[in-house]
Symmetry: C2
């Protein structure tokens, strides 16, 4: 697969994409300090601030989640690479406040290492914070689950709670409750290329789909023949419901995240089938989100994320927000 | 290229995607009558209603533009095919009102034929309406320019005007002014497959880009070696500015529409360069929109649309709206 992307000098890729990103969303976000993505209308200092970090190349994630009712700062790294601790510390200090800082970290080795070092350093400098790790991918190592698109639900719920004036303890508890009650599974049908190096991220044979592929092409062992939308929906939903142990009578939110080349059309078919399957099991569909939130360049496939929701989490997911990747009126 | 899509029986594709689409956006849209996509909170009858029609397979277009401050009804056809006149008449009659109906049609042969027949029939039944045709693609036949993603700007501006209580004459004049002052050019780097038939929509050799390719793979004659983001931005912007005859001191809106596999990352690079080029020419960037609004399945490439805007059009583009594909607070 030859790389066919509109880029310039790969060395400037992240700098250029961030400049274009804030230009396209100048009513919501801006660059500050060493390329930290911040809200243009900062939240009052008496409310909890939300921070995250993560590699670039997954647009709109994660900087697209910065805005009213969502994140206060995102620290973007290089392509598919965590930012180093100094910039993370800079972000944590920039939003430091008596109300405290909630730091949401996706479980990937580089992100976690940077985050932990930054937390130590920021706390030594007096920053009040709580950290919540997302690790909801049910494929791969059960002792070290990856954080996938579920981070959006955690950020949405905790962000709405912070906007409503909840304490750091309450916001962290909400984020943790969402994180504990969500599960994600990915499926891939076609590969992608690394935008700086041209390296192939994942090579997937014709007529095959890979259930459980991570967002950087990590294999999950689920290689099988390509199925229909209905069949794929059922395979993935059953695995998720089983892992989360969802019972008849409960309610879940469903997030379908296209990772690049897979169309909204296909995701709508999958959602339709998910709803039918849930109805048959007596499980309620409390909320759904369908779109491209965390992509893997031009890869074909999607992530299905489910989350068990109580009334409070449901209300927080539906609360207003205004970020580049998600706006709710 | 083998087709790798999550679909079921191709005969049910549009029905299923519409069911999933309204399920995913149930706070905004619903299906009514013979699969018309309508607002769940209809606009008061004393305000002008907006209607459009168009083939499916371009999600989120065009039904994704239904909502507050945007369209009142969209009539989706089969994949890449116009809906027949009876359903269009049904839509026009469903929103018929003394205030009148503004009917926005993209210039594609099938859409125009259906639209014209429906207009005749609806007018005979007493529906008050005005029709505006969008035909802003500067590639191809100069006497018969295609309507591409620019329809979004026309719908956004006229939809905001209608929501504000403007008359049919005023809304139609606004839509026509936007249509007359916009131009679009597409570039493609990789092909796609027809989701029902598996037919290849466009075959594009390695290392090549095609400037001027229409949304169904119509060639525009612009086959050339793949360029960088900066070079491509300049080639496309210059062609558009020249065709629209934009002068130093004027202001334009810029819409960058990813058609499928091309990433937001790449579009941000292009927008960044567009802004630099405009500055050098003394042209203002009044507004920008970057995203996937009108797609062509998994095709790689994007459409660049520019529009000369006065203060009224600028305000209408920035006005609040709430639709599946675009929400402005």
């Amino acid at each position: 697969m030859a790389m066919k992307k509109f880029i310039n000098n790969p060395d400037n890729l992240v700098q250029e994409l961030l400049e274009g990103f804030v230009l396209a969303n100048q009513d919501k976000v801006a660059l500050e300090g060493s390329n930290l993505v911040v809200r243009v209308n900062p939240k009052p200092k008496d409310k909890v601030a939300l921070v995250t970090l993560g590699g670039s190349g997954h647009e709109p994630a994660l900087s697209g989640f910065v805005g009213e009712g969502m994140l206060d700062i995102s620290v973007p790294g290089e392509i598919f690479a965590a930012p180093g601790p100094p910039r993370v510390v800079e972000a944590l200090k920039a939003v430091a406040r008596d109300a405290g800082v909630l730091f949401i970290v996706l479980n990937h080795a580089g992100d976690v290492m940077s985050a932990n070092m930054a937390v130590d350093m920021a706390q030594k400098e007096g920053v009040t914070l709580a950290k919540v790790l997302t690790c909801e991918d049910i494929s791969g190592d059960p002792e070290d689950r990856r954080g996938l698109v579920g981070c959006l639900l955690v950020i949405k719920a905790a962000g709405a709670a912070a906007e409503a004036g909840k304490s750091l303890e309450e916001c962290a508890a909400i984020a943790q409750r969402m994180a504990d009650n969500m599960r994600t599974l990915a499926v891939a049908v076609s590969g992608a290329t690394h935008p700086s190096t041209g390296d192939v991220i994942a090579e997937i044979p014709d007529e095959v789909m890979v259930v459980g592929m991570g967002q950087h092409g990590e294999a999950g062992g689920g290689t099988q023949q390509l199925k229909t939308a209905d069949e794929t929906a059922e395979i993935m939903l059953d695995a998720l419901l089983n892992d989360l142990n969802v019972q008849s009578g409960e309610e879940i939110a469903v997030l379908l995240n296209g990772v690049g080349a897979t169309t909204l059309m296909e995701l709508y078919l999958v959602l339709r089938r998910v709803k039918q399957l849930l109805e048959a099991k007596g499980i309620g569909l409390a909320h759904s989100l369908v779109g491209e939130y965390l992509t893997v360049q031009e890869m074909g496939g999607f992530q299905m994320c489910i989350a068990r929701v109580d009334d409070e989490l449901k209300a927080l997911l539906k609360a207003p927000c205004n970020s580049p990747a998600l706006t709710v009126k």
